[in-house]
């Protein structure tokens, strides 16, 4: 059976990686193949990692408030590389006013503080790109 392949990334300058690491482990324990990029990745590096790892999902952890600069760039790069079908989800501190804007640019899952790990696992399992779902 093909495992869902997930790239977990921490873009921007922030080093608070507790959330990213806990989620990475939860997804791995749920049977997914998880690649954690480590800290301070540029959008270019994240998309390159997704391409190289043949990822079905990109999970971004952003707490610093830089999401409105980082997410549009990632979505643009994914489109350029023909990776529009990669599921992009964001976890972190996202003000309410920014949620519809992120959804409009194609970020499918937005997980705020207090979200159970299981909810994120279920969301990814359900929405990861269809070639996995069809197997």
């Amino acid at each position: 059976m093909t495992k869902i392949r997930v790239v977990i990334a921490k873009p921007g300058l922030d080093g608070h990686d507790r959330g990213a690491r806990v989620i990475a482990r939860a997804l791995r324990d749920a049977g997914m193949e998880v690649i954690y990029t480590g800290l301070r990745q540029t959008p270019e590096q994240i998309v390159a990692a997704a391409l190289q790892e043949d990822a079905d999902v990109i999970g971004l952890s952003i707490l610093s408030g830089a999401h409105m600069h980082i997410c549009p760039r990632i979505m643009e790069l994914l489109a350029e590389k023909g990776l529009r079908d990669v599921l992009v989800v964001v976890g972190g501190i996202i003000p309410d006013v920014d949620i519809p804007k992120l959804q409009d640019m194609g970020v499918r899952g937005i997980f705020l503080p207090g979200t159970p790990m299981q909810e994120i696992v279920d969301f990814i399992t359900k929405h990861a790109r269809s070639r996995v779902g069809s197997l």
């Binding site: 690491r21 003000p95 790990m117």
Partner: protein
């Protein structure tokens, strides 16, 4: 009825503690009166009767103008010290126009790129009468140099300055991950600050050895205690190895702990910390002055315990955590604002957080008695257990060759990650109740107004940076940076070189880049 009772750190607790649990306790040896070795009961004989703790609210956002206004408001509301929160570009030594600063300027704190920003930040605030804490680590010497030059311009002598620079790089590698250079050159910057301040800024606290971030990253109370004090040992050892007199620099070392939700465990943690540090300084380092033995600490309530759901509940959480810090004998305290799981605090939320401390200090009566829980069968047992667990970690880390070596092996990082995951699993199973999150959930959760920092702060900072670069003497900047590199390659104390560079308006990015060229950058191996 619940089958197993345990602290928030997972430590099992018995239903009842009795004299049998403390039979081995010797009052003079293990506790002592407040003000007496080993200071378990506190470092001051009269506790808060002589002086109440400093109410020091961590604040910073947007431009230096925005933050200066917030400081004036906090001081007018009865705050008794300042505490600067810097933004990520400043913490990482990047100018606002660097590629990686995109979207980060002024977001998590105030942006300070050059002396020009620092002048605005403290405009109208007398540095001779206020005490200031600055949360900055890798670029700590650069920011301290800026503060010193601002004081000089105000006509305040450096010998009169009082405050704290966090300057704790080890916990950055362990937990918060805002590092620039590899551990060993980073440690040299730390000891350069120790040596420089011992001679020139004698009332300055040259480091705040921090467990706060270690705990926030997921550590248990015992891990926070162990890793923080073991970091402290590493700094003292490096100071001695650099040729400094322990009796001169050790009394300027201060600590910073988390005030988490498990009430008694936190109180026991502070008490254990004082006892352990007194023994470390007297028995391990042979320090002879009581000032070297006394552990002084700042506490901050646990940001990680705040919930985005039902945010008003956070006021209650914070008040209880602050009470634990006070009963544990904190010298200064920050109380978090109710909206901090959502954003940086609004002015109203920040004022309410300060009021929480004022109510504790002036209405509850807890300041009248020193260490009121001393002698409690439970608290004394917990104090001993935490100490024992932390001492085991000391042994493990000593066997690895010290904290720098342990960090290079990823040991504390991995221990913390394990604890964080175990805690999250306990929450998922419902073994840990978080009110409003996994129980007592309210579908019509109140939304509250929050602070939103837009792009205008970044635009202001970019414009000021451009003006500074145009107006300064470019040759003088280049010369100062060249001398800094030369000093870093050799053995000179770097602090005077930073002061010289700051005076000619070298930026934080330029100073940090100059040293990146010499020492390179640290990269962590990502593991999950």
């Amino acid at each position: 009825m619940k089958s197993a009772f345990a602290t928030v750190s997972g430590r099992p607790v018995a239903p009842l503690y009795t004299p049998a649990d403390v039979a081995a306790l010797d009052y003079r040896r293990d506790l002592g009166d407040p003000g007496e070795f080993p200071y378990t009961r506190g470092i001051h004989p009269n506790g808060y009767r002589g002086r109440i703790w400093t109410m020091r609210q961590f604040a910073g956002f947007g431009t230096p103008e925005d933050t200066n206004q917030r400081y004036r408001q906090l001081l007018a509301a009865g705050g008794t010290g300042l505490s600067v929160a810097f933004d990520l570009p400043t913490l990482m030594g990047r100018d606002p126009d660097h590629e990686l600063s995109l979207g980060e300027v002024g977001k998590c704190g105030v942006n300070v790129a050059s002396l020009a920003d620092m002048e605005v930040l403290f405009d109208g605030i007398d540095l001779g009468s206020v005490t200031t804490s600055m949360t900055i680590n890798s670029p700590a010497p650069m920011i301290l140099a800026m503060y010193l030059v601002v004081a000089e311009k105000q006509g305040v002598g450096w010998e009169r300055l009082s405050g704290t620079i966090q300057n704790d790089i080890l916990k950055e590698f362990i937990a918060q991950k805002e590092y620039i250079y590899p551990p060993r050159p980073s440690m040299r910057l730390v000891t350069d600050v120790f040596a420089f301040c011992a001679g020139r800024v004698p009332r300055w606290n040259t480091i705040s050895v921090s467990g706060y971030h270690i705990r926030e990253a997921g550590a248990t109370a015992a891990q926070e205690l162990a890793f923080t004090l073991r970091d402290g040992i590493e700094y003292v050892q490096y100071g001695i190895d650099a040729g400094l007199d322990v009796e001169v620099f050790a009394p300027r070392i201060s600590f910073f702990f988390n005030a988490h939700s498990d009430f008694f465990e936190e109180i026991a943690k502070y008490r254990a910390a004082r006892r352990m540090w007194a023994h470390v300084m007297r028995d391990r380092f042979n320090a002879r002055s009581p000032r070297s033995w006394q552990l002084r600490f700042h506490a901050q309530t646990a940001g990680v315990s705040l919930t985005a759901q039902q945010p008003y509940n956070n006021v209650v959480r914070t008040a209880l955590q602050a009470l634990a810090a006070v009963l544990g004998g904190a010298q200064s305290l920050h109380t978090n604002s109710l909206d901090e799981a959502l954003a940086l605090p609004t002015a109203e939320a920040a004022t309410l957080a300060l009021r929480t401390q004022q109510i504790l200090a002036h209405e509850t009566g807890v300041t009248g008695i020193v260490d009121p829980l001393g002698g409690s069968y439970f608290v004394e047992t917990l104090t001993r257990e935490l100490e024992e667990e932390a001492l085991e970690y000391f042994d493990t880390i000593d066997r690895m060759g010290g904290m720098v070596a342990a960090i290079e092996r990823g040991f504390p990082q991995q221990e913390i990650a394990e604890s964080a995951y175990r805690f999250q699993q306990a929450v998922e199973r419902g073994d840990r109740v978080i009110v409003g999150v996994n129980e007592f959930v309210d579908e019509d959760d109140d939304r509250i107004g929050t602070l939103y920092i837009d792009q205008t702060a970044a635009d202001t900072q970019l414009a000021r940076l451009e003006r500074v670069r145009a107006a300064r003497d470019g040759d003088a900047v280049r010369r100062a940076l060249a001398r800094l590199q030369e000093g870093a390659r050799g053995g000179a104390n770097t602090m005077p070189l930073f002061v010289d560079a700051v005076r000619v308006y070298a930026t934080i990015g330029e100073m940090c880049d100059a040293l990146r060229d010499v020492w390179g950058e640290y990269e962590e191996v990502p593991v999950i």
